[in-house]
Subunit: 852 residues, 2 copies
């Protein structure tokens, strides 16, 4: 059985540039640093074939002819990014010549046509010396690697008048094999991103003269081979061109077996997020179109072309004449699609403002322009719709808030997850969980226990989101506490409210928006009567000491309520994060200070609430996310856990935000160096593609629900408990993040991430005067700006201008008050991270100057 | 542009048989009434081709030879369900003859081989009269429609000894076209379910003699054409054979363009839930296998065969000899896959019991045998793993609890949803919602407002499940009430608990398991200290009057606390459900009785709780689901809504269970004949494939959150708010359910479902002595059994034996205490529904006899 090493994938090839290099002007102004934009004002389509040899170029030629000869004609740009078998085969030459021939025999019209080849392999060049006039063009020469020919047709006009047909081949190789093989044999490797950049620039080129500005220019991109044929780098073409997500004309197959080939090609495009505008195929008497329309439920038009002439080198003019009606109705379909799409992109903002009720949003503050229309996402980037100088643009923006901290996939992983979702929906849809087992639920549970639950957890309880996972955790913890402290028999007594069980939690921590989870957070403006009339705050809330980088140094900030008089200045500053994590600190003066604060608080509580118990500890390990990305001193959290253990109070870690390498480790518990009894996970668990949450628990906690009655069991559940698609996404994502062969950011043997943000750059940012503090950990970097005047916290507008500028730079940011942050995925390349960080560096540098 | 009427699909062709017919013995004992079972003890595989002509039959022959000649040989059954071009082409004849030839030239071994064709079209028969010995077989005749030939090879043994090769063609057509065209031209239409039934029976046939029982018999099923080529009915083969979900050997394509064709075929299988065990392809010097392995990340083995001989009619023996190593390693891969799969199916139960924490489950009561291993679902049915007389079986069971009331799709819809999920994940993954808009979120919101929100709602707030949707609804309602009743300024005052706002709700209703939703339900054993120490019951809970069918009559049951002395007997009985819904009842004596009960309760509350307000009404319209499938008198709920309107108390409908045709109407509000201010939806909304919930509200409710501060906005949200896949699934599902062209159960013009359960049969069930009451409405039929002795309600085990029997009949049921129920999807065929109902009828009939 052959087992072949994986071809290095373009997505996996990553370089790591130091920030000093990145700050050089050539990098800052490199295209990848600007938001990359695609002009979609004109009808622009991708021609894909369900196989090789199904007539893609005939279809391109037919469409181009139709566009140029319509009653309201347009210019036409035809691009063949990749051509093999060149120059014997040249699809752009074919289109160029055939269109001219058709116009010569048909209605005469002013046309300027050109055909050029931009780059050719050394084999092509070597052979070019032997080329005769005859096989390269109509009397126009082959100049260096490039081949250029042009024709002006019609009476008395130059390039400025008439309609233009511009045909282009970007890269040509000599051998008639798949492009990736041609590269292997002839050289001229082309990076995917480079190829896309070139294609993008040709799609954006303006071709109308001044008078012609209102004439639309159609743009057709013809791929090579079938939809999933490899491009020059080996990436499949349907993946290679996916970031553009151009609408597709799929050339189907009219032969025996063609129904299957066409449907499968259609599905490969579909599960990569493409929209297929129409299917065109040769009619060969088998009526494949009937089966196709039935499959498509008439949702996509199918155009049938007359049978191709037997000998393709024949003069095809008759065939094109015969086909002209089909092409003109196809052109109508395409145009109408283009207009509808554009119209919809325009209407969406208004409709959204009209009918959505966005969470956490004061609608009064949302202007129509402030609404972002997201056409798609590809890995870490959104493609958003914008108008720029009257043009319709799709602009790429890095999703720097990771869509509320959920996102993990890069483009390759997203594509794999998409197929996994199709598979899982087809195999299971959703099937119910209690007393049942099915592969994804079991696989996901096994991976959780071997990963984030390793060494302590033995049970997995599934739910839908972080908030429900926390409510379940609290029910578990309070039951365990009640059992351990002999409160189980007081049930009847307690219906009169004889005592109350509360939780121990930290101020500034947040555990979700449902009431039970809200009760575990300290009172804020989120928990007042205005927001939830039933909130009462069932906790003892402690003030935590925090850690921050400011002026290039790690500093500890201890709240006033601590007895910190005995601490030396040295205790409060650290050279590195490693120093902060060191277990040596457990016996330091700070540890004593923490321990006495905690004990005193617990004693005070007991004294003033004799009827009440502390029944659980709940913390967000290391980082308080929603609370403003504050880093809590790990020593303090570790001591808190220790104090609770001593008192047999169950410990809950809310890792909904911190889990799955968000902070560099699979579980943030690793950073704390201690283990919980119960922990909650969500967000990134499914790769961020779907809602799913899990509450993990020890066997001792589980056993607290065993008994002779169903009524003792944990009577909590949601309809979609352990839904198959969510579990499948989680199993796939955790595996993907964990495996060094798919995630090159994983340190071999260590299982944690390498540093994704250049620490030198982070320190430099921390030294700007406008910057109050920086936190950089794993996939997260957060920067708090100094407030001018009163600090309004979450309601602050300090960061507004900065955020606007960064959005223009292609970074989609949402601040938490005056805290801005970037969040990448566990497998995002450090190069990409640093490119984004440099943008932030530049803007904060300007902002800081203005600030002074 | 051709627009062709849809070919009637086998799934859409439905008949409606009256129950009297269904109760006839021939129906009761028809195969479709028994749980359909597939024996997977032996290695059983499907051979699919990435296109026509890629060598499927060569591969089948190679595997069969390898199986029969292995060091531990096995029998081999080869089935070609559909053959066109017959008898000139006959793949089963090819396999039969080539295997014999190979054995003749190679190592001699005892073999009994046969080949038969079961049915042939009239064109085949007509031509058969002209057949000569030469072109049909080795001296064995063509008998009637069937063709049979056999050979015994080796020394001194008969059929009982040696290894058997049994080759079969189920159906043969003469013309060499796609099967669906052959049917059109030659007749012999074959229904998909019939074809599957025949295939299933041949896959289950036992072929070993007594001595040979331990010899496994491999089974190979070779499809026709490509993976998505149509079968005889026009259904694509990958859909047609999907209910078996046999592991697949995919024969790939080694030609230029073959990478694309193979990957696309692979993906078509994947997004239908198939597992592909290996890809086999002809090596043609292009090394397509390298690209394939890279794409597959080495997850699926790729076997490369020597180049096929140029002239296929050649004697191929040399080629087979050359290929034998490839086939024997392929066979190893297949065998190891088979063993691993079987082993995993066995291990899953134990692992599940070991690491899962199932919701609502007392684990102590779950025996290992009680755990159901679900291999897959196809439409309304699970395929579950069972052992039967030492054989591994996959048994089909109707998911009668609709997986906690979530499920809607039939097999066709599930397949379409799966592709939609792949598309949506590839296009969007998940993108964040606030201040953004993307197509699925907008489309879903539009469809909700045009459907369930029509005439009242203008805003959509998305969340993750019914429980969160209810918490959000309560926050909305309480804010609106506070604003309308001048309580907004009391915020500071109320931090001292000066007053409390409660909800009005009905006893027995249920709104979710998170604390806020729990607070809106009356105290039960679910809400006690044992389950949630923080529950306090923030409601005024009324007793509702219920409706039930018993002894064939609709009866009203009014709680004792009502002043019902004035009611006549006639007021309490109804001939039909329509009568019950009539608005004439609004002015009846019962209406007066209801109204005085409600007013008195509200007055009592105000008198005894002077500091408290009733700030919202929350009800489950028409049916209390979890409370035991009780139907509430719609008149009572309508009057309740009216009374609250009069007092400016916002009205919330919890339609998480009742929405989207679950009760026959798109919204259950239509049944009540009144509208809410706020309503919650979930479960069936996504077709039941994914968690997603929505809270709809009027503009007046929305406006209660407008203001000059973000802190006045609704500060509640979940990470996956309006996640793209959920919204896409919802938009697709609602459209599918609503459209008569996809859902034949929709009454044209009415938008509601036809009757799915035969009402005569329902009445007959209601007349059994063991039956206390029946509720049948829309997709639901619930049957409450009389309790023997004390009624234990939810903890009752009354139904246990009945449920066990029905599971044996292929109905997967979970009782709610002594209430059993069936729940189909909005597009499930009434024929299927009645088949299931007849099973229930039969079992309850027996149960009732025993009960007396």
């Amino acid at each position: 059985m052959p087992h072949i090493p994986l071809r290095p994938n373009f997505f996996l090839r990553r370089r790591y540039l130091p920030f000093s290099v990145l700050l050089q002007p050539k990098f800052i102004h490199a295209p990848s640093f600007l938001a990359s934009e695609l002009d979609i004002s004109s009808p622009t389509f991708m021609i894909y074939g369900s196989n090789t040899g199904v007539g893609k170029t005939l279809v391109s030629t037919g469409i181009a002819t139709s566009v140029l000869s319509a009653s309201e004609p347009s210019h036409c740009v035809y691009v063949k990014p990749v051509q093999t078998g060149f120059p014997d085969d040249s699809d752009s030459r074919f289109v160029y010549r055939k269109v001219l021939e058709i116009f010569r025999t048909g209605k005469p019209r002013g046309i300027f046509a050109s055909n050029r080849v931009l780059k050719a392999s050394r084999e092509v060049l070597r052979a070019a010396t032997e080329l005769t006039e005859d096989n390269i063009g109509e009397g126009l020469g082959f100049s260096g690697p490039c081949h250029y020919e042009e024709t002006v047709m019609g009476n008395g006009f130059g390039e400025e008048k008439g309609y233009k047909l511009i045909c282009l081949t970007l890269y040509g190789w000599k051998e008639a094999v798949s492009p990736h093989l041609a590269v292997e044999r002839e050289g001229m490797a082309v990076d995917d991103s480079l190829l896309r950049e070139e294609l993008r620039s040709w799609l954006s080129v303006s071709i109308g003269g001044q008078k012609d500005e209102k004439v639309a220019a159609w743009r057709l991109v013809e791929t090579a081979g079938g939809v999933a044929s490899p491009g020059p780098s080996g990436s499949l073409q349907c993946d290679l061109y996916r970031p553009f997500r151009l609408p597709v004309i799929l050339v189907g197959d009219g032969h025996l077996g063609g129904i299957s080939a066409t449907i499968s090609a259609y599905e490969s495009l579909k599960v990569r997020g493409y929209d297929i505008v129409a299917i065109v195929l040769e009619g060969r008497g088998l009526h494949n179109e009937i089966s196709l329309l039935s499959y498509l439920r008439n949702g996509v038009p199918v155009c049938v072309l007359p049978k191709f002439p037997e000998e393709p080198s024949n003069n095809l003019i008759d065939w094109f004449c015969e086909s002209s009606k089909v092409f003109s109705s196809l052109q109508e379909v395409m145009l109408s699609y283009h207009r509808k799409r554009t119209q919809r992109l325009h209407d969406m903002r208004e409709k959204a403002v009209d009918i959505f009720w966005w969470p956490f949003t004061q609608h009064k503050f949302v202007s129509m322009d402030g609404v972002t229309v997201i056409d798609s996402r590809c890995g870490e980037n959104f493609a958003i719709h914008k108008m720029r100088s009257n043009k319709e643009m799709l602009v790429s923006q890095f999703d720097a808030c990771a869509s509320w901290w959920t996102q993990g996939p890069d483009a390759v992983m997203q594509s794999e997850l998409a197929r996994e979702m199709g598979y899982s929906a087809a195999r299971y849809g959703h099937v119910m969980f209690p007393e049942n087992v099915y592969e994804p639920s079991l696989q996901c549970a096994e991976m959780l226990l071997e990963g984030v639950g390793k060494g302590w957890a033995s049970r997995v309880f599934f739910s839908d989101n972080g908030s429900t996972a926390v409510e379940i955790a609290l029910k578990m913890a309070l039951r365990k506490f009640s059992l351990d402290h002999g409160l189980m028999n007081f049930e009847n007594e307690n219906s009169s409210g004889a005592f109350e069980i509360r939780v121990l939690a930290l101020r500034g921590s947040y555990h979700g928006d449902t009431l039970g989870a809200m009760e575990a957070q300290a009172p804020t403006s989120y928990t007042g009567f205005l927001q939830h009339p039933w909130y009462s705050g069932k906790g003892l809330f402690l003030e935590p000491p925090t850690v921050l980088v400011s002026m290039e140094i790690w500093n500890l900030s201890i709240p006033d309520c601590f007895e910190s008089d005995n601490l030396r200045k040295d205790d409060l500053h650290f050279c590195s994060y490693g120093e902060l994590l060191s277990r040596d600190r457990d016996s330091s003066a700070i540890a004593l200070c923490y321990s006495s604060y905690i004990s005193n608080k617990l004693l005070e509580f007991a004294a003033s609430n004799p009827q009440n118990y502390i029944g659980a500890l709940i913390i967000e390990p290391v980082i308080h996310g929603s609370g403003g990305m504050h880093m809590i001193d790990p020593l303090f959290q570790r001591m808190l856990v220790g104090e609770c253990r001593n008192r047999r109070i169950p410990v809950v870690f809310d890792e909904v935000f911190s889990g799955f390498w968000r902070l560099g480790h699979e579980s943030a518990a690793e950073l704390l160096g201690c283990l919980p009894d119960i922990a909650c996970f969500g967000k990134l668990m499914t790769g961020g593609i779907l809602p799913l949450a899990a509450t993990l628990a020890t066997e001792a906690v589980f056993n607290a629900f065993g008994g002779d009655s169903k009524l003792v069991a944990l009577l909590h559940g949601h309809s979609f408990s352990a839904h198959a698609m969510g579990c499948a996404a989680a199993a796939k994502s955790i595996q993907w993040f964990k495996d060094p062969s798919t995630n090159i950011n994983i340190e071999h043997g260590e299982g944690r991430l390498i540093e994704l943000w250049d620490m030198k750059l982070v320190r430099r940012i921390s030294s700007f005067l406008a910057v109050k503090r920086v936190v950089a950990l794993g996939t997260l970097i957060a920067i708090e700006l100094h407030a001018k005047g009163t600090d309004l916290g979450y309601a602050s507008l300090e960061a507004t201008s900065l955020v606007q500028q960064l959005r223009e730079d292609g970074v989609y940011m949402r601040p938490l008050g005056n805290v801005i942050y970037l969040m990448c995925g566990p497998c995002t390349s450090p190069l990409f991270c640093n490119q984004q960080l440099v943008k932030v560096y530049r803007r904060i540098s300007e902002f800081s100057e203005a600030w002074i």
